[in-house]
Amino acid sequence: MKHRPPQLATTVSRRTNPEDFSRRRVDGRNPSQAASVPVRNRRAGMDAGSDRTTTCAGTHNGLVGSTGYTHVVAKVMVSLPDDLLGVLDVEAARRNTTRSGLLRDYVHEGLRHRGQERARRVEQLMSEAAHHGGDGVGDLKRHRPTA
């Protein structure tokens, strides 16, 4: 696949999928307003490489303003190189689904796979878990540094 530098965010006006135009926004904003909504807020302190987003109640973690979440189905902008977008559209057509539907499936599938990989690694690692008396909380607190 030919590599191209990432494009600017794919804007609402570039969407060609009828599904994206036919649904009324649940938050009452029109598409041009939606385009100005931040897609996500990177959390301060999260390990590099993680792209998880915040919740709607963004203010509880120090983030201010809209996170783009609507509690139902959010419309977001995703930046993709043109060649990858092309492949996505071909695959969506092949599966008789929409671009959004395919991305949703891939996100679910990717997260599930990642969690399963971690779980497999943990089970392998902890196969020799031992008996230590059952007071982990007490042990933890007793051995924390004190002044």
Binding site: R43, A44, M46, D47, R52, G62, V122, H132, V137
Partner: protein, 139 residues
């Protein structure tokens, strides 16, 4: 998909077969939910394994457990903002800054804190136990 933020006590419960929450911690860590923890957990589990249990192999397993969560993108690193938040939580909730660090970490990640610490965290509705977490229907 549910997002859980686990503190060091949950990791210790996963290692300690005598712990009341051992099976629930095992189930939680074996599931495909999104997990995260604080970098402080590296020190805390190592400290308990070496100082309290005097078990070097347990320390290695527990370090590996934190590393597995980190490899999955779930390690929250303490920084100035998080520590400032932890200090505020410690002050208002009358917690140690260690416990408050996990509360602040969970808040910064937008996740539910899971802990075996009934007295300081669970009974004060700042966390749920591993058993409560696994009993909760999937989102």
């Amino acid at each position: 998909m549910t997002f859980w933020f686990i503190d060091a006590s949950v990791l210790l419960a996963r290692e300690d077969a005598d712990d009341d929450q051992h099976e629930a911690a095992r189930e939680l860590l074996a599931g495909d939910a999104i997990l995260a923890t604080l970098d402080l957990a590296y020190y805390e589990v190592g400290n308990v394994a070496i100082r309290a249990w005097r078990d070097v192999r347990a320390a290695a397993r527990l370090q590996g457990l934190v590393a597995a969560i980190a490899a999955d993108g779930g390690l929250v690193r303490a920084d100035e903002t998080l520590i400032a938040h932890a200090v505020r939580v410690a002050d208002t909730e009358r917690l140690s800054v260690y416990d408050a660090g996990y509360v602040a970490g969970a808040a910064s990640a937008g996740a539910q804190l899971v802990s075996c610490d009934l007295r300081d965290l669970v009974n004060r509705h700042l966390a749920v136990t591993p058993q409560q977490a696994v009993d909760q229907p999937a989102a």
